[in-house]
Amino acid sequence: MSVPSKVRITRRLFLQGSSFAVAVAWFGRLFSVRLPERLASWGIPTPWYQSGPVETTFTVCDMCPWRCGIIVSTVAGKVHKIEGNPDDPKSRGKLCARGQGGVSFLNDPDRLMTPLIRTGERGSGEFREASWEEALDYVAESMIEIRDEVGPESVAFLGHTSGDAWFVDHLAQAWGSPNAARPSSSLCTSPREEAALLTVGRVIGGHEPVDWDEIEAFALIGSHVGEDTRNTVMQDFSAARARGAKVIVVDPRFSTAASKADHWLPIRPGTDTALLLAWMHVLIAEDLYDGAYLDAWASGFDELAAHVAEFSPEWAAPITDLTADQIRTTARVLGGSLPKAAIVPGRHVTWYGNDTQRMRAVYLVNSLLGAWGRAGGLYLPKSPYIEAFPHPPYAVAGSSGGCSAEPGEESTELPLGPSGKARADGVRDTFLRGPTAIQELIPPMITGNPYPIKALIAFGINMFHSLPDQARTKEALKALDLVVAIDVLPQGHVAWADVVLPEATYLERADDLWTVAHKTPYIAIRDAATEPMGNTKPGWWIAHQLGTRLGLDAYFGWETIDEWNDTRLRSIGQSLEKVRAMGGVIIQEGKPYLDNYEGGAPFPTVSGTIELVSETLSESGFDGLPVYEPPEPPPEGFYRLLYGRHPAHTFAKTQNTPMLSGLFPENELWLADAEAERFGVDSGDLVMLTNQTGATSGPIRIKATQGIRRDAVYMVHGYGHDAKGLTRANGRGASDAALQTRYALDPISGGAGLRINFVRLERVS
């Protein structure tokens, strides 16, 4: 390009040139920096905490029955994060994997979204969508028909998870059925509670009253803290260890807790009572018991001492497959720290059918250690004071139980329903006492004895994974006139319902106040953090709708849950608004130690003392002091089937939750290395399990390990779902419940001992 001989920089040229330059620069920057940056950010979503104002809600987690107080963070009504509530005595600001995974549970694409009414055969899983009107009318009309035909007692209300009280307590009692139960009694805690009532006149309660802050030595029998990830227990266990507390773990398996223990006793399954008797023997023989305490508070010491005189460590060693030295040493560890020593009461204790007696043995050890009502031992929990929402007297007094239930009145006369029938679970007949035994309500559905149960309202409970003998449960479901499933997910039994009512999750609904008997008794509110998805409804609303249709308006004289909760809170001078503003929790003063009972009765047994010897039991023909009964050993070629929990899972509830499923999508079978070698399998190989009567489950992958005895196998409970609607969980792993075809009924508490099933392995090519 030739340059003009004369270039005159005129003002016009200057202005044109500079505006051109600016334009070039602007466009240049746009295309080389701004636009590319805009494009580069295009695929990258804005983090939730920057996408709008964050709102927080106080509520109570429901990912497991422990129920920690939580703070839920939402943006524009969408739940993003859940954290522990620093003011809550359970979570103390922290939260376990399941609690954190609540966001994923809420968003599970497999959730039930609309009411369904059965179209095909019961069990076929064929349904059509229906409106709430139609579905609720159907249920109410069917229930009324059954009541008019045979009486309201013929409707069973079984339930678990928060919201269950609306059905197994409020509705069932208003309606008039004593056949209401939670699985968390006879399939979990009943033996522990009945043994406690018999020994110290109190239940253990939903929050085990271990005085962790000061304890110096403790024993866990089976309790696998760390795989059972109850938030507070993990916190307390770790803090106690960090302080130098001594830990004894009694477990046939090298659990997480065992890996943290100072002493791990790999006990032969089913022989714990022998160990406990030997511990008592050592504590007494070596004067490692709190004599002054027992003089003041207990009765029957001489008889106990005489009873255990023969149960030496040398006697117990071959029974338990431990050494006498181990037994003696660990007794001394406990005794040496008394009274700041205790055996932690455990939670799921329905093992062998003689579990009430084993728990009595646990409590006798704790009594010798002087732990009850002492700092560093087992404090005495107190329930928070708050009044119930006023309602007319119930048609029948219920006994649905549950791990957090207030102990019922143990009366000689069983409460009768409106048509004169007591509960049908065989109490006083096949077992002595305690809340309704849920698994015993299944036979009346089939046989009609003592009277037919014709309807089932199942709220949240997983019928096939919590109850033993799946075949029997299915037979019952076939025989019933009405099956109603109120649930969040299409669990296996939901396919067997006539009517499916989709409940909103705990994050989408407010609910009744959560009250906890505790060292610092407290009340926590449950507010909804977000709107219910799809056409789901809160449990309280479903109960209200059913109640009014069943003519029980008098018990549902309130319109919203807020009204219910506010009324209750006003009975203690509080209100919903106030509690929301003060951290979501009201903490009251407890009476944890004996000193707090000046002049009062800390141990309200029949005698008013800690009853080392139980005359209540001996008068009913049971052993007044525990004796060891050997369990049936596994037949040749079989292993005892043991089961437990996984840190990211709750029973059979969370295997389909996307985030939690990813952490442990299928369970494994723990098999001793020596057995794996003998059988010719390696870790990762698939096997089918067959039990003693031919029931099968699997395939399941082997985990060959040094961490378990040769006479037992172990798997995490809650897998092997047979539920096509659970896309992530269906068919993954094996189901221990499917192999628990028989159970041993505890004749005292009605608990179902589930560890009496044996399995053999078959390789799958």
Binding site: P36, L39, A40, G43, L663, F664, T705, Q706, G707
Partner: protein, 308 residues
Amino acid sequence: MEVDLTGTNPESFPELATWGWPVAGYLFLGGLVAGLMILAAVLRSRGAVYQDGVKKADLLALPLLVLGLILLWVDLGNRWNAWRFFTTFEVTSAMSWGSWILLLASAVLFVRLVQSWVDSEGWMPRGTRSVFGWVARLGQRLSRPLDALAIVVGTSLGFYTGILLSSISARPLWDSIWLAPLFLVSGLASAGAFLCLVSINETHVRLAPFSMAMCGVEAALLTVYLGALSVAGTAYSDAAGTLLAGSYSWIFWGVVIAIGLAIPLGIEIGERRQAIGSKVAKSAPIMKLGGALGLRAVILFAGLASML
């Protein structure tokens, strides 16, 4: 010892699976193009008998490089951000060096391609005549400096494909100063084989000794590379062991050594001694190219699997 893992991501477990066949293909093509750049530059002034090969190199190098770049681009997780490679120069990053070397190589090869095309075909698409013509003239006028540049850039390119891997010391199989010269020599051997394959017989005959020599050097470098690894410590000798006797040994010995070096060498010797016909002999360069691709692949995959 029992180990249970929770929370693994598919890129790292059960094996590191970040780079696959596209990257192996790119490493091969990068080496090939590097060799072609060097060979073409050196042979351009070596006599008429080589000029068919030189012309083929000039015309085919850029398309091969572009194919390699496409493979690289396909491997990216965020393809539309690829322009970011050219907004900065990260001196510690071999890949950053490589991005700019590739840009430079593309420029050099583009000039040569246009110039060669114009010279040999004598025409260019309408409408582009002035631009392409300008480029072609540039190539003609600056031919000598362009060749010098091609040798420098080509050597850098060949070296860089090795340094790309050897700069990642987390993978013990790659942590060797011998990897870069190995890849360069392999690239030169590939280029020689490639030209033997695509050019007229006379060129092929002339290039055969060079090609055989390169195979010899490559074999020597492989020995030094693996030998050095074998004495460097457990992680390194374990890594080398996977090639020599372990899970990758069949690819290494079968493809890289036998198919890639030994058998072609045998064929070429036989051809020189008139014992093998030229039709059969054409299989030798094909095998060598296969072996070169195999070399990149086995070092890539075995390297990803190697751990410190």
